[in-house]
Structures are given as structure tokens and as C-alpha cells.
């Protein structure tokens, strides 16, 4: 072999320096790549930590123990006919009962303002609990009960050390006296932290300590049912047609281009479509999971069609040819052989599409699923909200206690998403066939 550069000397200082430079640049490049990965990881870590650290307290609530005496006179009930009239029981003054039992603990509190700020330590929801107890058992009138009642969110935040005791009084939501009362209650063992079932099982509320995500969860669930009922059959049908039956002509091409484009259309545009067509044109009810689900279905349809086509493509042609060979019609080939074999793949794609729809917020804002709704929706046309929209609403709320509720709701939403994606992955791992 001849040397192409007869005069080249590979070990000169210039050569060595150049080589060192090139290797240094190689190392720099490599470190840059690692830094990129680490940045992405750090971003995710900060995101998750900030949400977990804020959200975990949402699953705990503070309760206060009060000795409540159901005094008919204090409640404003007619003492001559105790327990007779359910309507009167429902309208009685339960705030007064709480006031009285608090004053028994702090007998030296005087004056309307003082009493009111003392009473503010107990949640407004405590009255509803007393009412419910009394309506359930009218014979309680006149008796005394030792009850754990929900405390106000400010009490909870103080105990969770979310409120800075050293801040000037004017910058705190709790006054010095209120903090002293809370400490006294705590010292008497009248405060406890419990698992916050209310957060998981009730609807929205203006009071952070009473607000829950059940209403939003049900709303999301109903909307997703509608989405699935529309998008799955239509998406699978379209995928089957395009893969198995469509002639190769301009019309088919147009459909394909359209589907790919729809997959990239911003979700808010689907919201505008839902608003213009479903609400303004068809006059379907606003804020209803029905309309939300229909809008999300249009958004999910391209995903299902695209993943469905990939799954159908993966079924080898030999299966089709064998079925044709023993006399199956084209449609029988599809329904008896291709679809069952492609089903795991189609389902995986569908679940991923549903998970995307579950996390979607913007289109739901457009069709009015953004109202403050206390009741848990009972049907597809009831006014409802959805989990991500609930997160958006709470994030907007000025009350600081809603920050932890928001983070808690995000944790629940992420848990749902993780569960759905894990199902999809498991499904793929379990049923995926290699031909």
C-alpha cells in the first residue's frame, strides 16, 4: 500500500495538539448531550416535587372536637314540639349550637366580633353535619354529643405550617388571638388530623375544607364514556375501511391527509367547533358531559384511526389469504380474523387516546364545562365539570388553601393517567404478537 501523504508525520506537536482539541470537543459535545437529558429530568423532578409537596396535605384535614348540646332554645326550635317537624329541624340555627359549645371552651370571649372570629375557626360545613345528625335522629334534641367537626381551612393551614406565625398580623389570615385559641384547642387535644375523605367524595365548594373532586371525577367519567362510545366504533370503522377496503384514489388520499391534519389541530379549535355546532347550531345543553364527550370524541378520533390502522397493518397478509382461501367474504375476513387479531393494538391506542382526552382542558372551557358546580352530576345532560377543569378553576382561586387542593386534584388526575397508560402497556406486553 502506498502512503497517500508521504510527507505526513503523525506525531508532530501540531498534530498532537489538533488531536487533543478534537478530543476535547468530542468530550464537550458528549457532556452537552448529557446535560440536555439531565435538564429534562430536572424539569420533571421539580414539577413532580412541587406538586407532591403541595398536594399531599390535601389528603388530610383537621377536625375539632366540640361538646355539642342540642339545645332546642339555642337552635330556635319550638321547645313545645321537639323533634316533631322535620322541616323546622332543617331550618334550625346550627351555627348557634357551635357558638355555644365554643364559648363553653373559651368562657371569657366577649363581644360579637370576638365571638364571630372564634366561630370562624370551625368550618361552615360543621352546621350541615349537625343538621344531618339531627334530621337522621330527631330524638337528639336536648341531649349532648361529643363530636369531631371539620375545622376551617385556616386552622388546617396553621397546623400544616403553611401560615407563617412570625409574619406581621396584618399579613396573615389568622389574627394573634385566633392563633392563641387554636394553640389552646390543640393543647386540650381537641384538634386532630384525619384522612380527608371529604376531598375524594364530595363536590366542589367555596370553602376549601369542604371542596372535593368527586363531582369533577364523575363529570370526567361521563364525558369519557360518551367519547369512547362515539370515537371507538367510528375510529375502528374508519381504520378498517382505509386499510382493507378503500380504493387507492384521490378521495382516499384526501381522507388520509385530513386525518393526519386533524391530529395536529390545536385542541382549542375543537372546542370552538363544539361551541359553534353542538351548542349554537344544535342547541344541546351547555356544560353537559354529553357535549364535552362529543367534542373530545372528535379530538380523539384521529388518534384512534391512526393507531387502529397501524394495528391492522401489523396483521400479516397470509391470515387474510388463508381465510379467503376457505371461502370467507372480504367482510368476514375482517370481522372473523383481522379485527380480533388487531384488537389488542387497537385497544392500546384507544386507551392512550382516552388518557389524552382525560387530561384535556381547553375544549371543555369552550363549551362551558367551567362553571362552579356543587352537585355531583347524575346524567349526561346535567351541568358538570371535569377533573382538569376543576384543577384550572381551583388554580384560579384566590384562597391559598386551594393551592393544596389543586395539587391534590392533580395527583388524583396523574394517578388516573398512570393507571390508564399502565393498562395500555400491560395490554401490549400481554397480547402483542410477533409474526
Amino acid at each position: 500500500m502506498t502512503d497517500p501523504h508521504p510527507g505526513a508525520r503523525w506525531k508532530t506537536p501540531e498534530m498532537n495538539a489538533r488531536l487533543a482539541r478534537r478530543h476535547a470537543s468530542e468530550r464537550r459535545f458528549r457532556r452537552l448531550g448529557l446535560a440536555a437529558i439531565l435538564t429534562a429530568m430536572a424539569g420533571l423532578a421539580v414539577l413532580l416535587i412541587s406538586i407532591l409537596s403541595k398536594g399531599i396535605p390535601a389528603f388530610w384535614s383537621t377536625e375539632v372536637r366540640l361538646d355539642v348540646r342540642f339545645d332546642a332554645e339555642v337552635m330556635g326550635l319550638d321547645a313545645t314540639a321537639p323533634g316533631a317537624d322535620a322541616d323546622a329541624l332543617a331550618r334550625a340555627d346550627y351555627g348557634a349550637l357551635i357558638r355555644e359549645s365554643l364559648r363553653e371552651i373559651f368562657p371569657d370571649v366577649e363581644g360579637r366580633r370576638e365571638v364571630r372570629s372564634l366561630q370562624a375557626l370551625v368550618s361552615v360545613g360543621a352546621r350541615n353535619e349537625l343538621r344531618a345528625a339531627l334530621v337522621a335522629d330527631p330524638d337528639l334534641v336536648g341531649s349532648s354529643l361529643d363530636l369531631w367537626l371539620p375545622a376551617d381551612d385556616e386552622v388546617h393551614m396553621l397546623l400544616e405550617e403553611q401560615i407563617d406565625r412570625d409574619a406581621p398580623e396584618s399579613e396573615r389570615r389568622l389574627s394573634d388571638t385566633q392563633i392563641a385559641w387554636i394553640d389552646a384547642l390543640d393543647a386540650q387535644g381537641r384538634l386532630r388530623g384525619v384522612f380527608n375523605t371529604r376531598f375524594l367524595l364530595s363536590g366542589d365548594s367555596r370553602e376549601p375544607e369542604l371542596a372535593g373532586i368527586w363531582g369533577a371525577t364523575v363529570g370526567s367519567f361521563l364525558a369519557l364514556i360518551v367519547t369512547l362510545a362515539i370515537a371507538f366504533p367510528l375510529g375502528v370503522a374508519a381504520a378498517v375501511y382505509l386499510e382493507e377496503f378503500a380504493p387507492h384514489n384521490r378521495w382516499t388520499q384526501l381522507i388520509e391527509v385530513n386525518i393526519n391534519n386533524l391530529a395536529a389541530v390545536p385542541s382549542i379549535v375543537f372546542g370552538l367547533l363544539g361551541l359553534a355546532v353542538f351548542l349554537n347550531l344544535m342547541h344541546l345543553p351547555r356544560s353537559a358531559p354529553l357535549v364535552g364527550g362529543m367534542t373530545l370524541a372528535l379530538m380523539t378520533l384521529p388518534t384512534i384511526i391512526i393507531t387502529g390502522r397501524v394495528a391492522i397493518q401489523a396483521v400479516p397478509p397470509s391470515i387474510r389469504e388463508a381465510a379467503r382461501g376457505i371461502g370467507a367474504s372480504p367482510l368476514q375476513v375482517v370481522t372473523h380474523h383481522v379485527l380480533p387479531l388487531a384488537l389488542p393494538g387497537i385497544l392500546t391506542g384507544t386507551i392512550i387516546g382516552m388518557a389524552r382526552a382525560l387530561g384535556e382542558t381547553a375544549p371543555l372551557l369552550m363549551i362551558g364545562m367551567v362553571a362552579f358546580i356543587v352537585d355531583v352530576p347524575g346524567g349526561l345532560t346535567d351541568a358538570a365539570t371535569a377533573l382538569p377543569v376543576q384543577i384550572f378553576l381551583w388554580a384560579d382561586s384566590p384562597e391559598r388553601a386551594f393551592v393544596e387542593k389543586t395539587s391534590g386534584a392533580i395527583m388524583v388526575l396523574l394517578a388516573f393517567l398512570i393507571a390508564m397508560n399502565a393498562t395500555a402497556i400491560a395490554l401490549r406486553a400481554r397480547y402483542e404478537k410477533r409474526w
Binding site: 459535545f29 414539577l47 367547533l273 387530561g359 381547553a362
Partner: protein, 460 residues
């Protein structure tokens, strides 16, 4: 819900037709199924499908048109004094009527008239539902009967049924086109109404955006001004910040994962990127508004800079984080599509790995990377929740990332939530913005596809 009441008896009827059709075919050949043209079930399907079709059509019509028709009939029955009110008041009144009819409380105080109208509304609704159900059943019964009469052994039932099913499959695939047409039509119609109120010149070139219509007509700026340039500039600013974050990180991450990463790092990094891609945007929005924006503000104050509490930077940074996995997966596809021979050739000439990547792989993968970048831009432009929660409403015409800006999607959301009046320039402006957004993202997507196709290097 009521549509189910129509569809359920029709479905029952179709079920009966299935059974009858199957039996009729079998009876005609004395139970010897092999003498039929098709399997007996197909005769049943034939009768059932033909029977169900008209009834279900009526149910669909009910879903689409019933509430509108009910509204019109109720309005027509109202006394003249109420009917003559302004459309928005009339809508409120109608809402009241429906609330009362639904057993709820009235809000706006319609009084006795509303009560009567509610009675009328309930009566109309139940009567309408009765008519619709009866009509649907009648049509279905007639169609089913006709179909059953045609069931004979020589009827090619399977071919008929399969033709119907194939037609259904084809119709579902055309839905995609319908959706696109629906989007374009609904946006264009409302946008045309908007441009009837505000000139397109002002919209596309005006520098002042303040869509708030005043409460009183004589107030200053009561007509609002609709110059959308600050909104477009804000969108571009946030998008640019996001891309400055996402492009280098995403691209370098893809390169590192393909060429350098050990299995352990890859096993760790892949799920991280997948989780980043799967986190809902509302969560990113909350993160931007609650963690990133205050942190930036503190850093800004420490450096002596004034950072708006809803700065473009916070929204852009978090949006960049969201887009990293998008860019990295698209660049990964582009990089792995480059044939290994190019890489090996470069190594063979003595190039280091980074030289190979920079001088051979990236140029070869460039069309794919640029296409992915454009798709990511389109994603960033259309992203809504992050900017709604972390960017502001103030339409400042600025290129300073520390200032508050607003974006197209933020304006669409604010213009359309709350107010329910669909005639004002304010709400119609949202549709004009939506139209601009739709065509901008469409153009980006088409351009991305075009670049990938046109400039792709062919190696085989």
C-alpha cells in the same frame, strides 16, 4: 337522553325482525340451511338493519333538532309582551322556563308567565317525544315488514348486508372530512360576521387590542378595539422562548440517547421523556403559574430587574419543557432514518463521533429535524392551558420576555368564557382569532410535511 327513549323500542323491533327474518328464511327451505344462498343469520341481519335504519334516523334527528324546535314552539306560544323582548332577554327568559320545567328555581324572575310557559314546555316536550317515538316505530315497522317480505331463499342476503356494512365503514371514514369542513365552516361563518363589524385591516394590522366592551354606551372606548398585532406578537414571543428551550435540549437529548447513552441511562431517560409528554397541559400551567413565575420574579428582583408576575418567560420556559419530548422523539426518528453506511463511512475516515454527528448525521437528517421543529412550533402556537394560567391578559406590544404578554389562545378563552352573548364583536373576535390559529397551524403542518418530502435524501 330522550333520544334513547326513541331508539330503545326501535332496537327491540329490529331484534324481532332479526329473529323473524332468520326464521322465515329457514322455514322457506324446511330447515335445510345449506339450500339458502347465505347463512341464516344474514337474513336476520338483513331484516334487522333495514328495520332499524329509519327509526334510528328519527332518533338522530331528535338529538340534532328537538331542543331548537321546542324553543321555537315555546317562544311562539308566549304572550306578545314577552316575545317582543330583545333576543338576549328572551334567551334568559327561556332559560328560566326550562329551569322551572326541570323542577329548579327561577333566576331572573319571569313570574306567572314563565310558570305557564314551563307547563306548556313540558306538555310540548312530552307530546313531541310521543309523536317522534310513534313515527319512528311506524317507519321502522313498515321498513321491517317490507324487508321481511323480501326474505326468500334466493335472496343474496350476505351480499346485501355486507354492502350496507361497507357503506357504513365508508361513511365513518368520511367523518374526518366532515369534521374539517365543520371546523372551517363554523370558524369562517362567525369570522365573516366579525369582519362585518370590524374591518379585517384593523384586525390584522391594528396595534391596539382591548376587546372589553363597556357597560355603558357613552363610556370611552365602548366599542373596543380589535387590532390583533399585539396578540400575534405575544404568541410569537412565548413560542420563540419555548423553542429556544426545547430545540437544543430535545435535539441533544435525542442525539445523546442514540449515540452515547449507556443502557442504564437510556432506561432511565426514556420514561422521563414519556412522562413529560403525558403530563396534562393544565398541570404544566399550574406549575408555571405557581412555581416558575414566582421564582423568576424573585430572581429578577435579586438582579434588579422588574419581572411581571405573569411574564412571557415563565410561560415560555414551561412550554419548552412540555415540548422537549415532542422534539426529541421527532428528531430521534429523523436521526435513526439516516443509513448506518454514512456513519460508518465517516468513522472510517477518522472522524470522531461528535464530528460524524455534526457533519454527517445532522445534515442528512435535517429535513426531518426541521419538519419536527415546525410541528413543534405549531403545537406551541396552539397550546392553551399553560398560557391561560401563566401568561397574562394584558395585550402589550413588546419583545421583552420579562413583560406580561397575551396570546391568541388566551384571548379565545377569555372572550368566550363568562359572556354568553354571541352577537357582540367581542365573542365573534374569538372565532376570527380561532380562524387565524387554525390556518397558521395548518400551514405549519403542511409546510413541515412538504419539507420532509421535498428535501428528504434518498439513499437506497
Amino acid at each position: 337522553m330522550n333520544a334513547v327513549l326513541i331508539a330503545a323500542p326501535v332496537a327491540a323491533l329490529a331484534l324481532a325482525c332479526f329473529w323473524l327474518g332468520r326464521r322465515r328464511a329457514l322455514v322457506a327451505v324446511g330447515g335445510r340451511a345449506s339450500e339458502l344462498h347465505s347463512l341464516p343469520g344474514y337474513y336476520g341481519w338483513y331484516a334487522a338493519l333495514l328495520c332499524a335504519l329509519p327509526g334510528l334516523l328519527i332518533a338522530a334527528l331528535w338529538i340534532v333538532g328537538a331542543s331548537w324546535a321546542l324553543d321555537q314552539l315555546t317562544i311562539a306560544s308566549l304572550p306578545d309582551g314577552v316575545r317582543g323582548r330583545a333576543p338576549s332577554e328572551l334567551a334568559l327568559f327561556l332559560n328560566d322556563v326550562k329551569n322551572i320545567a326541570g323542577g329548579g328555581m327561577q333566576v331572573a324572575g319571569g313570574g306567572e308567565v314563565a310558570g305557564q310557559a314551563a307547563q306548556h314546555y313540558i306538555a310540548l316536550r312530552s307530546r313531541g317525544l310521543g309523536y317522534a317515538t310513534g313515527f319512528a316505530l311506524l317507519l321502522s315497522a313498515v321498513a321491517g315488514f317490507a324487508a321481511l317480505r323480501r326474505v326468500r331463499p334466493e335472496l343474496r342476503a350476505r351480499i346485501r348486508v355486507e354492502a350496507m356494512l361497507r357503506a357504513a365503514l365508508m361513511l365513518s371514514s368520511t367523518l374526518a372530512i366532515l369534521v374539517t369542513v365543520g371546523i372551517v365552516l363554523s370558524l369562517v361563518f362567525e369570522a365573516i360576521r366579525f369582519f362585518g363589524l370590524v374591518s379585517p385591516l384593523e384586525f390584522f394590522f391594528g396595534l391596539q387590542w382591548s376587546p372589553q366592551t363597556a357597560l355603558r354606551a357613552d363610556q370611552v372606548g365602548s366599542s373596543g378595539s380589535f387590532g390583533a398585532v399585539p396578540v400575534f406578537v405575544g404568541t410569537l414571543l412565548v413560542t420563540a422562548i419555548a423553542m429556544i428551550v426545547a430545540l437544543p435540549i430535545g435535539l441533544m437529548a435525542a442525539i445523546y440517547m442514540t449515540f452515547y447513552a449507556s443502557d442504564r441511562i437510556r432506561r432511565l431517560a426514556k420514561p422521563v421523556l414519556e412522562i413529560l409528554a403525558g403530563v396534562p397541559t393544565v398541570v404544566y400551567g399550574f406549575f408555571a403559574a405557581l412555581a416558575v413565575a414566582p421564582a423568576l420574579r424573585e430572581i429578577g428582583t435579586a438582579l434588579g430587574l422588574s419581572v411581571a408576575s405573569e411574564s412571557a418567560l415563565a410561560a415560555g420556559l414551561v412550554m419548552g419543557l412540555m415540548i422537549i419530548p415532542f422534539i426529541s422523539s421527532l428528531s430521534d426518528d429523523a436521526i435513526t432514518a439516516v443509513p448506518g453506511a454514512l456513519r460508518d463511512g465517516s468513522y472510517g475516515l477518522g472522524a470522531t463521533r461528535s464530528e460524524t454527528i455534526r457533519l454527517v448525521i445532522i445534515p442528512a437528517a435535517l429535513p426531518g429535524i426541521v419538519g419536527g421543529f415546525l410541528l413543534a412550533v405549531s403545537r406551541a402556537v396552539g397550546e392553551t392551558m399553560i398560557v391561560v394560567m401563566a401568561a397574562g391578559l394584558a395585550a402589550n406590544l413588546t419583545a421583552n420576555p420579562l413583560d406580561a404578554v397575551t396570546t391568541v389562545t388566551v384571548q379565545i378563552v377569555t372572550l368566550l368564557t363568562g359572556d354568553q352573548e354571541f352577537d357582540s364583536a367581542k365573542t365573534l373576535a374569538a372565532f376570527a382569532l380561532g380562524l387565524a390559529l387554525f390556518f397558521a397551524t395548518l400551514a405549519l403542518n403542511v409546510l413541515a410535511l412538504h419539507i420532509v418530502r421535498r428535501f428528504r435524501e434518498q439513499y437506497d
